[in-house]
Amino acid sequence: MMTRETAFNIVIALLLLAAPIAANYAGETFYVTLATRIAILSLAAVGLNIALGLGGLVSFGHAAFFGVGGYAAGILASHAFAGTPLIFGLPGTQQMPVIWIVAVLFGGFAAFLIGLITLRTAGVYFIMITLAFAQMIFYFAISWPAYGGEDGLPIYVRNQFPGLNTLNPLSYFLLCYALLGLALLLFRLLADSRFGAALQATRQNDVRVASVGIPPYRVRLIAFTISGMFTALAGALFADLNRFVSPSMLSWQMSGELIVLIILGGVGRLFGPVVGAALYVLLEFWLGGITERWQFFLGLILLGVVLFARGGVIGLVAGRARHG
């Protein structure tokens, strides 16, 4: 039996695939880029959804991992482009699969280190400290001139994927879409697994989790690390989309945006991040076309969602019940 939520998810997934393909054949590649942006931001938010949606960890610092992924792509590409070795004589690379692995590893490592400290705390402390650590990395990126400092780091030619012309907007979209699909699949498996059960239980009642013999801190730390990995992968894709990495990927606004995406779509829902990202990007595009002051109206809409439409869009469509 298919629930309304599943049906809705399938429609969204098909729309996100069909719209850019149609746009591409109509010659409107701008919309393909817009859809790519949606897919990448969705992926970043799927990562955050592991920590925030499943684990109830309100991380206001996920831009850190997004940025780490972005800089991994930028730094590797810049060394490959300039032909200079990275460190220990290792060369840079323009191969996306290698870049992704490096981005995921560093994103995971950063999340592990930050989680190690921040997960000792909870509630408001956790929010503020994740924000602070992301800000630390932000300031480091600004004050470290080797990779562009405040000005950011350009990627002169988009990195390559074997057998694919990544410069073709539709090809790059399909690549990002496939990775998003994989991430959603992994999210679903994770949510339904033993680990997912333990993680969702720590959100609801960590004393109970500890009392049956499962250590909540370790569960959260692993979840936070995995969460950072997903978001870092998205960061690497984002860098390649814009062919540019800058400290703005690490900014607190970016962290806030990622949270906003999830809330718009629906916290803890499989497709929450996708719906949220689509809504956010389209809203930004649509409002931006009407008024220069689109952020003002975006703020009003957000405020309305928080105060009056709890549960996000999927909550409105599928009712308030969470899966789990």
Binding site: R194, A197, V207, R208, V209, A210, S211
Partner: protein, 249 residues
Amino acid sequence: MAEAILAIDELVKNFGALRATDHVTLDLKPGEIHALIGPNGAGKTTLISQIAGTIRPDRGRISFDGRDVGALSVAQRARLGLGRTFQVSSLALEFSALRNVMLAVQAVSGSSFRFFRPVMRDRSLIEPAMAALERAGLAERANVTVAELSHGERRQVEIAIALAMKSKAFLLDEPMAGMGPEGSSRLTGFLDGLREEAPILLVEHDMNAVFALADRISVLVYGRVIATGTVDEIRSDPEVRRAYLGDEA
């Protein structure tokens, strides 16, 4: 006499100026129900929490199954076989009763750090969990979300979790609370048989149940154990009568 499975030695806990646990020494032997009674505020839950590990004592020793558990975390003690139920039900509210119990099964039956196999198709989790719910008398409500269960039913989920943990000792903090007379008498019968499986340290206000069940009773007043003995010894103990009749008559 058999070796105690749980032994508490000279435990002390202060909250500011209040001494919540005052040099408490007691133990739990295989096959027995040891009831802990005392007026409200006597420090019973504080004591249970120290045994389970949610509160750290200031002084004293807790040993379980032959080892000192004082430095272990809540989760580590639980994995050694200390099964606790809470005075105020403490469950994952958005999960069904079954999923709450399954969590306990997965905790004892191996690792919680498995990332792919869906739990809702995992018979090695579902079957033991259903069996525990069955024994706790809640099988037909297994798929109801805990948030929708009554207080009494939540107590049953707590019991089922303790069962599913295959505990070597149970710490039951007022399991009868909010159950109603019928439920209480059913639970009394159930606990009577449970002691064969693992001994029970029972905190309870329902004196009928305590007198019907307990092999030994310890009376806690202002954080101090004023008497330990059989039901008859406690009934006739002058200090207990003074503490209780002064308090509740």
